[in-house]
């Protein structure tokens, strides 16, 4: 039988078979890895739904309307949903212009000696554990807010939002920076050739072309802000009621889960936590899937 010629090698029948088996085996490993991780993600959701079912069948959907008062048998998480939105959205509003400015600086307008360090700095910042941010927040932001807030405790929505804004900026800056960098070089030269100034180039060419990356970054940043636990747990004060102002304390869903986790496993409080988990899961899954879709250009 004639031997097959593979570039670089001449393989015997035997050797080829071994190689085939080896390839199959490798494919199997990779495939099972992919299947396992995606199945796990769905399993987590299913398990949460399964564990939350007894709670829903007992308490109905009162969880979305009532207040949180386990002593009197009321397990509403509406204040926590409000707390989550009211800390994450302001954080995004604060972080967005800062991140956009920073990434334009690092990608385009900055001093050429500072551009590289600027992006390296953000890379380092993105690997700081959130508990460190929260810790710094307790000593820097909380006393400041206490002073401004006239008699408030300082543990407030505003404190948490400010620190969350710092936390989510690196995520956003990466996305913004990458998409600003990937704008076609010839188009850029064309813009300059047509007499555009540097700032006009940024405003009318770079940012519009990087639109997709910017949206994706915003969605992912929001997802991070909603999903973060330590910062809101340590800085927002965790009172389980609807806040009246930015200087008041609030509790987010994530902090709520962390706080209630200590309750008895068989108590309804503990089961209500799974409902929180489902809500958080769905929100963050929606945000990150949307972000990926936008980034890949399937949603214009």
């Amino acid at each position: 039988m004639q031997k097959k010629i593979v570039p670089g090698y001449i393989l015997s029948e035997n050797r080829e078979q071994i190689l085939n088996i080896y390839n199959l085996f490798l494919k199997f490993i990779i495939f099972s890895g992919a299947i396992l991780s995606s199945v796990l993600i769905f399993l987590i959701l299913l398990i949460m739904i399964f564990l939350a079912l007894p709670f829903f069948s007992h308490e109905g959907i009162s969880i979305f309307s009532g207040s949180w008062n386990p002593v009197s048998g009321s397990y509403g998480i509406a204040p926590m949903i409000a707390g989550t939105v009211l800390t994450a959205v302001p954080a995004l509003i604060i972080a967005f212009p800062l991140s956009l400015g920073y990434s334009v600086f690092a990608a385009e307008t900055g001093n050429r000696y500072l551009k590289k360090p600027a992006i390296l700095l953000i890379r380092a910042a993105s690997s700081i554990p959130t508990v460190v941010y929260a810790f710094a927040g307790i000593f820097i932001i909380v006393p400041l807010i206490r002073k401004i807030g006239h008699g408030g405790s300082g543990y407030s929505i505003l404190s948490a939002s400010l620190v969350l804004a710092v936390l989510i900026s690196p995520t956003m800056i990466f996305f913004f920076y990458d998409s600003l960098k990937s704008v076609n070089k010839y188009t850029q030269q064309g813009a300059l050739a047509l007499g555009a100034s540097k700032s006009e180039k940024v405003l009318f060419l770079l940012i519009p072309s990087a639109k997709r990356g910017i949206f994706a970054g915003v969605f992912l940043g929001l997802g991070r802000a909603l999903g973060d636990t330590m910062i809101s747990l340590m800085l927002a004060g965790n009172s389980a009621s609807f806040p009246d102002s930015a200087f008041e304390s609030a509790r987010t869903l994530t902090a709520h889960i962390a706080l209630v986790m200590a309750a008895d496993y068989d108590s309804p409080e503990f089961r209500s936590v799974f409902a929180c988990g489902i809500i958080l899961y769905l929100i963050t899954a929606f945000l990150s899937i949307t972000a990926r879709y936008i980034y890949k250009g399937r949603i214009q």
Binding site: S67, W68, N69, P70, V71, P79, P143, R146, G151, G152, S153, G154, Y155, G237, N238, S239, A240, S241, E248, S249, R251, L259, V260, A262, A263, D264, Y265, E269
Partner: protein
């Protein structure tokens, strides 16, 4: 005669320092391994000191002490995640039977209302306290303080300190949903010390100059008053094991009941309890 006396004295001198230095931690001689504790945060100062002395004596023993609150301590030890689970309340009959817990009460502790040292208020009665914590009295000026909003600090549901305070000081009264949540006795002290308009509650063992403990119905939160039973908001500090304590667990708990252990407990501001 003189000779005998002198030699006796010398013998005694040899003996005394030995007795003093060796007795308590001596039981850890030749032991090795690790011991993990978690749960109640009121216990921490005592346990830390005990662990320090033991680990200094025997470098082969590693003792780690975590917080989390009484509920966490009971749950974790019940599930076998740690060796000793601390609680600032007696575990409920349900918890004891479910996990097969063995309880060791080694101290009595009070829980006191604390405010910022600059606060003019010194005493509260139960009724006023209930009104403050439920959010019905919102301003310090209503009870003789300065004109400022009252910031209520409370502990999370896992806390034994909270349970005791709620039961015995508030008579199971409501705690306002506006209250801020703090997760340990130590953190509560820092939070109250930093906030001029705060009110919170901590273990008496944690009381120091950075916060002011308020008298309750005219009785000041002093150890003497807790001991005499006059100050009512008191509880035992428990260390719990799953099943009978054995090995290193046993020795650690025994150590707390020795004279040295009891002196540590007293020096940290608690009332030691004999076995």
């Amino acid at each position: 005669m003189k000779k005998i006396l002198i030699s006796l004295l010398i013998l005694f001198m040899f003996f005394v320092p030995n007795l003093y230095a060796e007795d308590a931690v001596e039981i850890f001689k030749g032991e090795s391994g690790s011991l993990s504790l978690a749960g109640g945060t009121a216990h921490i100062p005592v346990l830390k000191e005990a662990a320090k002395r033991i680990m200094k004596y025997n470098h082969d023993i590693r003792i780690t002490i975590g917080g989390g609150g009484s509920g966490v301590g009971i749950k974790k030890v019940g599930e076998g995640l740690i060796d000793i689970g601390n609680s600032g309340r007696k575990p409920s009959p349900g918890e004891i039977s479910k996990y097969g817990l063995e309880l060791y009460r080694w101290a009595i502790d009070g829980v006191t209302v604390v405010v910022h040292p600059s606060n003019k208020v010194n005493n509260l009665d139960t009724d006023t306290l209930k009104k403050i914590f439920s959010g019905k009295i919102k301003n310090w000026s209503k009870i003789g303080g300065s004109n400022a909003k009252i910031n209520i600090y409370t502990r999370d549901n896992s806390s034994g300190t909270r349970k005791v305070f709620w039961k015995k000081a508030l008579n199971k009264g409501e705690i306002s949903p506006k209250a801020l949540f703090i997760s340990s006795n130590g953190a509560m002290k820092t939070a109250v010390a930093k906030d001029k308009n705060s009110i919170g509650y901590i273990s008496i063992g944690h009381l120091d100059n950075s916060v002011k403990g308020l008298s309750l119905n005219g009785i000041s939160p002093e150890l003497e008053n807790v001991k005499s039973g006059e100050y009512k908001v008191a509880r035992g500090l428990y260390s719990n094991t799953k099943g009978e304590a054995k090995g290193l667990e046993r020795k650690f708990i025994d150590y707390l009941y020795t004279l040295e252990g009891q002196s540590i407990i007293a020096s940290k501001g608690f009332i030691p309890v004999k076995k």
